[in-house]
Symmetry: C2
Subunit: 204 residues, 2 copies
Amino acid sequence: MIGKREEKREGLKAGLIAAARERMRANGLKGLRARDVTADAGVALGSLYNAFEDLDELVLHVNSITLGELGAALAEASASAPSPEARLRALARGYLHFALENRHLWASLFEHRMPEGRVVPDWHLADHAVLFSHIIAPLAQLEPELDEEHLILRARTAFAAVHGIVAISIEERFIGLPKDQLEAELDRFTALLAAGARAVGASG
Amino acid sequence: MIGKREEKREGLKAGLIAAARERMRANGLKGLRARDVTADAGVALGSLYNAFEDLDELVLHVNSITLGELGAALAEASASAPSPEARLRALARGYLHFALENRHLWASLFEHRMPEGRVVPDWHLADHAVLFSHIIAPLAQLEPELDEEHLILRARTAFAAVHGIVAISIEERFIGLPKDQLEAELDRFTALLAAGARAVGASG
DNA sequence: CATCAAAATGAACGGTGTTCAATAATTATT
DNA sequence: AATAATTATTGAACACCGTTCATTTTGATG
């Protein structure tokens, strides 16, 4: 039997990730302490470093889960949209609502930085694709003659712009907009994006 | 004579701010240590807490200086633009270039967070106006019938979108775009913003 | 059951921001 | 000018952090 070892190890990892996720949801990335997480998970302080390289790797696992949930929320939000324009609007609204309802977890996606010298592992880098992937299809409908490379580039730009609007509005550093006014501004913006793409797509 | 005291105090503050700014320029916000800053400024560790409430207040002073320089860079970049469209493009490009040439100082404008419970003082909040203020005039030319309130809202959205594109592209977390390709994407985007404003401005 | 490898433990380490009693410097008073 | 009172400067000490590692405990093996 070699299963018992791995089983416990995976249970340990999962418990630590769950505990870290809960701490991050409640207190944000800055409120994450190794001693809190291990105490919540019911293990010794040192066990964290048995399961993970360091706290940063634990954060990456939490962020990957958040990206997965964000992807699911975006898929559901845009599923029944009748047109590419409606789909883009639904995606932007879905992104805004996810950010509002998961503020700390969502913020940590962008706040977290690897310590100098260490690099983000590939398995986590790949999970960032969900941020762009849902935008590609409606953009392709609006600009059919765009090749794959340009589509990805355009999707990245569209996401970055929407993210900027959401992020700047949510962070209290800037005077907060009422939620419905922010949503209206987002709608206006996605309509502009769609109209721009349509115009280019129609003309050639 | 009460001048000697204040004079030394201001000199101490200025020295600490300059030292912190240099550390942040070279190593980023995370690379800022109280012991390094005070050693560079040639004062004792405790003096930092005589001049400032804490490290965060020192960071805010550095960020205010950065905002001032960013404002000057934007003013210069857009000064000779012949049309509102050209002005918006020049502002976006100017923002991109400032971010590229002052990466750490620029990044710390958005990375820094006040510790829980403490609030950003008004004198620093006000300095954030430069991020939007230069966009208002060209937007007003494109949409003359927009009132002040909506102009500010629209300028905020435009800045947030451009900032998102620049930020996502610069952060190495996402695969980096070549600089000229990023600039082209930014140009396309500002043209879209301007065209959208013009269309609304002409119709209604 | 005995032996060994692997995992779990928590005290200890080095580094952090911040405090504070002691010292030095400046201002006020006689 | 001399002295007292006030204020600024200092750096050792403190509390807390992520991380390490010698030790103990646990699980697998013959």
